[in-house]
């Protein structure tokens, strides 16, 4: 039980310190090559 609680706390801490990913409303990828079709 204790292990589970520590695991959850560790997970929550990781979430709290992870830098937020940048978010956008739209984008345009310019790509090249046959694999991009």
């Amino acid at each position: 039980m204790k292990t589970k609680i520590w695991g959850m706390m560790f997970g929550i801490t990781l979430l709290a310190v992870s830098p937020a990913s940048a978010q956008v409303v739209s984008g345009v990828m310019t790509v090249t090559g046959a694999e991009m079709h």
Binding site: P19, A20, S21, A22, Q23, V24, V25, S26, G27, V28, M29, T30, V31, T32, G33, A34, E35, M36, H37
Partner: protein, 163 residues
């Protein structure tokens, strides 16, 4: 493929995803993949990167990403000599920078800086995301460094909407 990789993201409006081929050459061609977030949602660049990675694009095909241009909505502030866009509806941010090679884009950043200094509010910023460039699979091996930096190409002032 990049088009499918963008379209399968939950926050992307699948109907907005549009692949346009430039038709410069017959085989290895350039093109653009446009995408937009669903109404009230935001597209996470880490998830986009992960989704493209999941397509397992191979090397040796002269295939890759030339650039990624994005539009982000939020408030622009100057903090510690850095111009930062705090994304609306999120705790994420972009550092805004100028292109030191292209005069037009340098000018766009300077105009934005002048606008912020005058106290006018910026609605959105468009620009090229630094580090999102390269051939497959090299460009996908690791996430570009954070904080994300946008080389500003244009922006929209909040007051412009009321006109």
């Amino acid at each position: 493929m990049a088009r499918d990789a963008a379209a399968r993201l939950y926050d992307v409006d699948a109907k907005s995803v549009l692949y346009k081929k430039f038709k410069i050459s017959g085989s290895y061609d350039h093109g653009t993949v446009k995408f937009s977030a669903k109404k009230g949602k935001l597209v996470d660049l880490d998830k986009l990167h992960e989704s493209i990675w999941a397509t397992r694009l191979s090397g040796g095909t002269r295939s890759g990403l030339t650039r990624l241009d994005v539009t982000a909505v939020g408030a622009v502030v100057v903090k510690d000599n850095k111009t930062v866009l705090n994304v609306k509806g999120s705790d994420s941010h972009f550092v805004l920078i100028e292109d030191t090679t292209k005069e037009a884009e340098k000018s766009a950043f300077r105009k934005l800086s002048d606008t912020v200094k005058r106290g006018e509010k910026i609605l959105s910023v468009t620009g090229r995301v630094e580090g999102w460039k390269g051939g497959w699979p090299t460009v996908l091996r690791k996430l570009p460094a954070k904080p994300r930096r946008i080389i500003v190409t244009s922006f929209q002032i909040q007051e412009a909407l009321s006109n």
